[in-house]
């Protein structure tokens, strides 16, 4: 079951097309990574889902039905450019946003207290936002986004401005929200967060969606038969018929080299090497999301996912 389904979305501005026939599917209770370089059209897509802008073509389905204005109550949006009323108190502000998202005052008060406790902001609840540190302001903003327990959360760069400790805190909260049943669309440039958190990923480049699928499927599609081989003695380029990506470097135990296999299987490689030296270890060099991002965006290398149909 998909909580969100975007079909053939096109949004044009006076001088350029921000979204060109973009379709994505976001299953319930997953963390969906929305990736793409700056200016690719992510914000336009997010704003369309939030009904801030209305696209020229295409449809958006939320929880099985065509997106309705009331659906904003079931969404939470953390924009990249954070914004709070600087002169308003912390608790008061959270209460205001909660009520704007359709919560009753009583309910909003209870939840505000719970969240302030959870993110250890209780001593600050009466302070004005401008008196808070940037990290604390970000926490307040996060609470404002999630307080009404939305079914769909859209977080744009949620970790920016946080120190590692607080970033971990927010990461844990995101996972907890997912475990509680929420679906999260995560738009970020921090690839390590994407690796850690995202179940599914869509990559948007130049107004078009270029890749969509589960993280593992995407990685499978981009694996390129590279192997890290650790041996007792170094292997030189002359000694092997395979392409050497990284030449031997001395490690704590033995030597490590990265080898690209074309036709041969890893077993063939092992057989070759075993005749010359002792093999201490072999591991497939699976590309990181960062590598895939660069490969797809910079080199325009778009791989077709093997089981894309299955995913769709």
């Amino acid at each position: 079951m998909n909580i969100l389904e975007v079909k053939g979305l096109t949004k044009r501005y006076a001088n350029h097309t921000a979204l060109d026939n973009v379709s994505i599917k976001v299953p319930k209770q997953c963390i969906f990574g929305l990736l793409g370089p700056n200016g690719a059209g992510k914000t336009s897509l997010i704003r369309s889902i939030n009904q801030i802008i209305s696209p020229e073509e295409g449809e958006i389905f939320f929880d099985g039905h065509l997106l309705k204005p009331e659906d904003v109550f079931k969404m939470g949006y953390l924009p990249e450019e954070r914004g709070l009323y600087k002169k308003m108190g912390v608790a008061e502000q959270i209460l205001y946003f909660a009520q704007l998202k359709g919560m009753s005052k009583k309910e909003a008060k209870q939840k505000t207290k719970i969240w302030l406790e959870r993110l250890s902001l209780i001593p600050w609840h009466k302070h004005k936002v401008e008196d808070l540190s940037k990290g604390m302001q970000q926490k307040v903003q996060f609470i404002c986004t999630v307080i009404h327990e939305p079914a769909l959360l859209i977080l744009d760069e949620p970790f920016s401005g946080f120190d590692p400790v607080n970033a971990q805190l927010i990461r844990d909260e995101i996972i907890r929200l997912k475990d509680d049943g929420a679906t999260i669309i995560l738009s970020t440039h921090r690839m390590e967060s994407v690796e850690q958190l995202c179940d599914r990923i869509a990559l948007i480049n130049k107004s078009k969606k270029v890749i969509e699928g589960t993280q593992s499927d995407i990685k499978k599609a981009y694996r390129n038969n590279q192997f890290d081989l650790t041996t007792a003695d170094p292997i030189t380029i002359q000694e092997t018929p395979h392409k050497m990506i990284h030449e031997s470097t001395s490690q704590l135990y033995g030597y490590k080299q990265t080898i690209q296999l074309e036709e041969a299987s890893p077993n063939d490689l092992l057989k070759e090497v075993m005749q010359k030296t002792t093999v201490l270890g072999i591991q497939e060099n699976i590309p990181s999301m960062n590598d895939i991002f660069l490969e797809a965006v910079q080199n325009g290398n778009i791989k077709k996912l093997t089981n894309e149909e299955l995913n769709a």
């Binding site: 006076a14 704003r47 939030n50 009904q51 801030i52 802008i53 209305s54 904003v72 109550f73 969404m75 949006y77 924009p79 450019e81 954070r82 914004g83 709070l84 009323y85 600087k86 002169k87 308003m88 205001y96 946003f97 009520q99 704007l100 998202k101 903003q141 404002c144 986004t145």
Partner: protein, 433 residues
């Protein structure tokens, strides 16, 4: 609707709670009282008494300078001119008037007024007036005019203005009172519209620069946000006005119990100076005229113009705030919006002197100027078809400006970066979301 209420509530509470609001609520009336107090005091008081020595070699003017005068102390001297000049130079006196022997009714020249510290145009004019008056009484018998004829000439004239309405009913009309009431009404509208529309604009700008809008427009429509803000700030304005009225009433009551107004003396003075007039004093005359005035219709019309002028201008100001990123950039777009308001106030003097002119008529029909101009005209022309037409146009103007503003607002709100040009803003008007 629930959300608009929430926004109104936030806008209202955060503003009313501010220290500056509380301070303005208390100091505002004091400042206004002080402001007008200074103006009135300046126009009533003529400064300190001037000490003037007079050497009158003709001897004709002695009676003039022996008369009691609030503004001058005259020393009618019988000394030499040089002595008088010396006294002036030493600073003992403010001026020294010399009427030479050569002065005659046929050849009226040679009178000198010496001064060192600057006597001021008014003092000079006063002295001139005194001399002229005396010369007149001296000259008239020569021309064959009798005392009785002179008295008859000097009789004061009072015109009673009566306005005749459509049904042929007569009522006293009072130009002065009408002018004052009209200008006060126009000024109040001007100040409030300006102050609170600017507040709306700043609020919009604050939301835009703090990037809070993006969070909000994902839960409410830009139109609702604008409406909530305008209404919320408008309520703040009404609260302030209400507070000022209450404070004003309280403080004048307290003041009047401390200050004793010398009614008897006023009456006495009036009786002496205007023996030929009716036996009522000026103050009760004013009250009599005020009583005669149709306040209800003026008040109703005032409230209408006040509210719709604010709503119209506030929405335009909101659009200005949404179009730009920072306060300095607002200047350019403020100009065309504030021009009509300033023009209306600038024209107020002309409107008072000719409330029926075609200038007055047209500016009281055009919605952007009509609130101020019609408030000024209203006490003169009374409630009638013209006012209804003007109100109707104002309402249409209000609907139109809200439409224009909300279309600029919804796009401007999320547009950052370069300051838009007028043609770009015009395109926003026509663009679908």
């Amino acid at each position: 609707m629930h959300k608009v209420l929430l926004i109104i509530q936030r806008e209202y509470i955060t503003r009313v709670r501010k220290k500056s609001f509380i301070i303005m609520s208390i100091l505002g009336p004091l400042m206004i009282v002080a402001f007008y107090g200074i103006i009135i005091w300046a126009s009533i008081s003529d400064g300190e008494e001037k000490e003037i020595s007079v050497i009158d070699e003709t001897g004709w003017f002695q009676s003039v300078f022996e008369e009691q005068d609030d503004h001058f102390i005259f020393h009618y001297l019988d000394t030499e001119v040089e002595q008088g000049k010396n006294a002036l130079q030493k600073g003992d006196i403010d001026g020294f008037l010399h009427i030479p022997k050569s002065f005659s009714l046929e050849k009226m020249d040679g009178i000198m007024l010496y001064e060192s510290k600057g006597l001021g145009a008014k003092a000079v004019a006063d002295i001139e007036g005194k001399l002229k008056k005396k010369i007149r009484t001296l000259k008239l018998p020569q021309l064959g005019v009798t005392q009785e004829q002179m008295k008859a000439l000097n009789k004061p004239l009072e015109i009673r203005t009566v306005s005749l309405n459509d049904e042929g009913k007569e009522s006293d009309s009072h130009v002065t009172i009408s002018s004052i009431i009209g200008i006060i009404g126009g000024l109040v509208i001007y100040f409030f519209v300006f102050m609170y529309s600017t507040m709306v604009m700043k609020g919009v700008l604050e939301e835009k620069t703090s990037r809070v809008v993006e969070v909000i427009v994902s839960s409410v429509k830009p139109y609702q946000l604008m409406l909530g803000k305008i209404l919320g700030v408008g309520l703040v304005g009404l609260t302030q006005l209400g507070l000022w009225i209450v404070l004003g009433v309280i403080s004048t009551t307290i003041l009047s119990s401390f200050v004793e107004i010398p009614y008897d003396q006023i009456q006495e003075a009036n009786l002496q100076n205007q023996a030929n007039q009716v036996e009522i004093d000026q103050l009760s005359h004013v009250f009599y005229m005020l009583h005669d005035f149709n306040f209800i219709s003026i008040l109703v019309v005032f409230v209408f113009y006040f509210i719709f002028a604010y709503l119209m201008y506030a929405s335009l100001f909101a659009a200005v705030g949404a179009s730009v990123d920072n306060e300095t950039d607002t200047q350019q777009f403020m100009l065309p919006v504030t021009m009509p308001l300033i023009l209306a106030i600038a024209l107020s003097g002309g409107i008072v002197s000719d409330p029926q002119g075609s200038l007055a008529y047209w500016f009281s029909i055009i919605p952007l100027t009509s609130p101020v101009i019609m408030m000024i005209r209203m006490p003169f022309i009374g409630f009638g078809l013209e006012v209804i037409i003007s109100m109707l146009f104002l309402f249409i103007g209000f609907i139109f400006s809200v439409w224009v503003a909300s279309r600029i607002y919804r796009i401007g709100l999320l547009t950052y970066g370069k300051k838009p040009t007028y043609s770009e803003i015009f395109k926003w008007l026509l663009r679908n979301n």
